[in-house]
């Protein structure tokens, strides 16, 4: 027993020693930008992609106002309680100038009140839920929001596909999917002027493998198009099962489809699946896109995901605001971020509206020959 307590005591002393050493002496010379992302837990994959982009941006642009910019990355364990503590830590303990994060709107919302009360400017990379920035003066984001994405796909279905009757399959346990479906329905109803244009709505849960019941229901209602935003695994299975049942109407969805797994699971069945997303690698939108794409390919030897580009954009947007403000005062930086107009990001030009949401182009992609292929760019509605 004695030995164990001795060892434990030694470990504790050592930890205290390490924490004491972890603080660099010349703290004044460093600008700290906090990053809170899910690095462990259910959303770790998405969080890792965003961190990749943020780190790359930090490598390319390591300085602001002549001072070194340091990233403080904290893990939020894909958990709301942890997300709130992590952000509180960034603000109170690390004294960060600004914060980036987080993948997953619900995690971002957990941080919302804290950054608003403390008055620390925060830029989300890929949190698309409209509630994140709503009535929060300090929360911004570099991605477009779900209402816009839903409208884009409704326009695509109505104009390009000539669809007049649509069916919805939504992942009911996923806030992103339900939100997108709702905005699609609103926009599509307005376009067709027909209150009965949505002929069927079916729900499934995250992790479901069999969609026969939902699909049979939809088949009977005979729609022109099926809008099925949701997680990539379930969506890919849904599409291949639809093909097996002989449903031959176009399937359209949202940006979550853009993962290699979507094609791996769906194989031939997902050919022709169309979705909206943030940017396309074969169509560099800005000069910054070119820089980002070149550096990313050099560093990781693969094609970047959209959220990686958005993480990159969140960082350079904050850096630009710090430069323009000429100070690291929270409110000065916040005001400069809020003024952002036609900012050149890697995933397109960013203009922030009065809610702090990015108004920017959406890209429509299609699965062609087992690859995501650029199809069209959609301008925001002014």
């Amino acid at each position: 027993m004695k030995k164990i307590s001795l060892i434990l005591a030694l470990i504790m002393i050592f930890t205290i020693f390490l924490t004491a050493c972890a603080k660099p002496a010349e703290e004044e010379e460093i600008i700290k930008i906090g990053v809170f992302e899910p690095i462990t837990g259910a959303n770790a994959g998405g969080g890792a992609l965003e961190v990749e982009g943020i780190k790359l941006a930090n490598k390319l642009y390591p300085e602001a106002l002549g001072k070194k910019v340091e990233l403080v990355i904290v893990d939020n364990k894909s958990d709301k309680v942890e997300a709130a503590s992590a952000v509180a830590r960034l603000i109170e303990k690390e004294k960060v100038v600004a914060i980036i994060g987080s993948w997953g709107s619900s995690l971002s919302m957990a941080a919302g009140d804290i950054v608003n009360n403390a008055g620390v400017p925060t830029v989300g990379a890929s949190c698309t839920n409209p509630l994140v920035t709503l009535s929060n003066d300090y929360y911004f984001r570099v991605c477009f929001i779900d209402p816009f994405q839903g409208t884009v796909m409704a326009n695509y279905a109505y104009n390009k596909l000539g669809a007049r009757k649509a069916a919805i399959v939504q992942e009911v346990s996923n806030d992103y999917s339900v939100g997108l479906a709702k905005f699609f329905v609103d926009a599509f109803t307005e376009l067709t002027g027909d209150d009965n244009c949505i002929v069927a709505t079916s729900n499934y849960n995250t992790g479901d493998l069999d969609f026969t019941a939902q699909l049979t229901n939809i088949q009977a209602s005979n729609p022109d198009v099926i809008f099925a935003p949701g997680n990539f695994t379930e969506s890919a299975l849904l599409i291949s099962q639809a093909k097996q049942l002989g449903i031959d109407v176009p399937m359209i969805g949202g940006d979550t489809w853009e993962t290699p797994e979507f094609i791996d699971i769906g194989k031939d069945a997902v050919e022709g699946a169309v979705f909206s997303t943030f940017f396309a690698t074969e169509q560099p939108i800005t000069n910054e896109s070119k820089v980002f794409l070149d550096e990313y390919r050099k560093e990781f030897d693969k094609e970047p995901a959209a959220v990686t580009a958005l993480g990159y954009d969140a960082y350079i947007l904050i850096l630009d605001a710090i430069e323009r403000a000429g100070s690291i005062e929270h409110d000065a930086v916040r005001d400069e971020i809020a003024k952002t107009k036609d900012f050149e990001g890697s995933a397109g030009f960013v203009t922030l509206d009065e809610n702090g949401d990015a108004v920017k182009d959406a890209v429509i992609k299609v699965v062609k020959d087992g690859k995501f292929t650029y199809m069209d760019t959609v301008k925001p509605i002014q």
């Binding site: 893990d75 503590s85 346990s173 996923n174």
Partner: protein, 350 residues
């Protein structure tokens, strides 16, 4: 209790209150948040310990009960305008949209509703024993979560709720925690508490002594759910936002971890380990960042914290197989005995 013990307890409570007053005015938001979480996890741990530790019912339904408490409290305290903002998919059902209550009654209603649903679930499920009961309660917790996801007009479905007034502060969380500790102590030492323990040790023996198994099991389960609901309500109003994904099985696991670490069947153990688990998780964060030793910089590996945390848990479980406290409770006499024993030893060495 001896008179000396009562004095000591009152004095330490006073000292603790002074500490809370100091913390309330001097601590930054980060430290306050962790302290609040410690208190809330104490409440949750105690409520689970009553069911699992003192009555010996292996129940894994805690996340579900917390969800009911959190949603009820949140929906009752949300201002009308915020409710309208939140429910942009489908409007909220009629009477609920205009009901706004102060925090305390909302919390109480949340607890009572949870207790009622705990009763409804417990009455049939408590006929099961051991692993089967665990599976049944786990299933019920999942059902609660799925119902919340699908009842969009009441709970806003998967989108969750945002803008819940952040009422939970040190007074609320520690007030409830201290009330829970005192309540549990009185309950455990009453005839009901003895009956719970008897059921835990041997059901047949307990029944032959005239203890109604069903009544006592349901009572313990209902009281446990009540405090789980209260804890959930406090948590929701601390975070300011809740959604169904928060109340997954992992949340139950977190609380189970606290009571196993502290000692199944010990109130003191639960309180200590609620504090240790919550604070250690934050203190270990430095492992995720790069460490500057002066002569060498170790680059940070994010996620290292969880590895070390798990290792520490394994050590505790290996060397203290009954948890930190086993089934023992804190006791002034024993503490003085230990202190004086150490002094005696030291004197003898001289």
């Amino acid at each position: 209790m001896k008179r000396k013990d009562i004095y000591l307890t009152v004095v330490s409570l006073l000292v603790f209150t002074v500490f809370l007053i100091y913390a309330h005015f001097r601590f930054d938001a980060y430290k306050l948040r962790i302290l609040n979480l410690c208190a809330i996890y104490t409440v949750l741990g105690l409520s689970m310990n009553l069911i699992n530790g003192f009555t010996g019912l292996f129940s894994l339904g805690h996340a579900g009960f917390m969800a009911i408490g959190a949603y009820t409290t949140a929906l009752l305290t949300l201002p009308v305008a915020t409710k309208a903002q939140n429910f942009f998919l489908k409007p909220i059902i009629e009477p609920l949209s205009n009901i706004v209550l102060p925090f305390f009654p909302s919390l109480l209603i949340g607890g009572l509703l949870t207790a009622f649903i705990g009763f409804l679930i417990g009455a049939p499920a408590l006929r099961l024993k051991g692993d089967y009961l665990a599976i049944a309660t786990l299933g019920f917790a999942e059902i609660i979560r799925i119902v919340i996801i699908n009842a969009q007009r009441v709970t806003n479905g998967a989108l969750g709720l945002k803008g819940i007034p952040a009422t939970t502060n040190l007074w609320w969380s520690f007030g409830v925690a201290i009330f829970t500790i005192i309540f549990m102590l009185l309950l455990i030492n009453s005839s009901y508490g003895r009956a719970f323990k008897a059921i835990r040790e041997d059901e047949i023996a307990a029944e032959s002594m005239g203890i109604s198994l069903f009544r006592h099991k349901v009572l313990s389960f209902t009281i446990g759910s009540f405090f789980a609901g209260i804890g959930g309500g406090l948590l929701g109003n601390l975070l300011g936002t809740i959604d169904p994904a928060l109340f997954k099985f992992t949340l139950t696991f977190n609380i189970l971890l606290i009571i196993v670490l502290g000692g199944i069947g010990s109130i003191t153990g639960t309180v200590i380990s609620a504090f240790i688990v919550t604070i250690a998780g934050e203190v270990l964060r430095f492992l995720d960042q790069s460490i500057n030793l002066g002569f060498v910089v170790i680059p940070g590996i994010t996620g290292m914290r969880m590895v070390v945390f798990s290792l520490m848990l394994m050590l505790v479980v290996l060397f203290y197989s009954h948890g930190l406290m086993g089934t023992n409770e804190f006791n002034w006499d024993r503490m003085f005995d230990k202190l004086s024993a150490k002094k005696l030893l030291a004197k003898r060495r001289d």
